[in-house]
Assembly symmetry: C2
DNA sequence: GTAAACAAGTTTATAACATAAACCAAACGT
DNA sequence: ACGTTTGGTTTATGTTATAAACTTGTTTAC
């Protein structure tokens, strides 16, 4: 009857940040506006959350240009991938869930 | 390439409350001290979170006695079970996960 | 060419949340 | 009867999430 709850990485246990990571796991590299559309987040909120993920080293942010307009690109790091995988593992202790892939 | 993120019930998207619900899903009815042990939470924190789950109608709290000592029992409601199931479904859109059971 | 509208974010202010510390009441041990 | 333990609740604080307001630069319309 041992039910041990693994602690959940607070950085990933947040709806928007989790969505961002989920996108980046799949898409490899994505532009800010694309992430914004996919998540439905406001630009402000997204900016803050991307900053947190970046500060933690979970993603890497590249500021470039697309023509003359600024273009912010996000990519997940190895650390981010590991953290995401660990988070999914930890969640299983709460949900009794197995990954499909 | 459609990746739609289902909104996550904020009441369940919280580590301790999720742990409580996870226990109650399995155990049907549980005493306050038991939940406290299993989750490792402080009594104060647990009291607050149980109150929120109760106010939302996700669990039902029964105050009885065990001999002369007070005994607080928690049981999940049908609403709580549905909410938990919906939460797990929603999470899948972030994790690409399937339940095992 | 300049004013209005738009794109791409950032900064800041507020509201919600999680958590721990302090507190209360009754029962038990000695 | 006095301190200790059990079983919690209330309150205060720190953190987090989020939206609203702002900034900077770029097109588009006139």
């Amino acid at each position: 009857m041992e039910k041990v709850f693994q602690p959940l990485d607070p950085l990933l246990h947040a709806e928007l940040r989790l969505a961002v990571m989920s996108l980046l796991i799949a898409d490899v590299e994505a532009e800010f506006p694309y992430i914004r559309e996919q998540t439905g987040a406001t630009a402000g909120n997204l900016s803050v959350q991307i900053d947190k993920l970046s500060s933690a080293g979970y993603i890497k942010v590249r500021k470039t240009f697309k023509g003359k307009r600024p273009c912010t690109l996000c990519r997940i790091t190895a650390k981010g991938q590991k953290a995401f995988a660990a988070y999914v593992e930890a969640l299983k202790s709460y949900l009794d869930v197995k990954t499909s892939s």
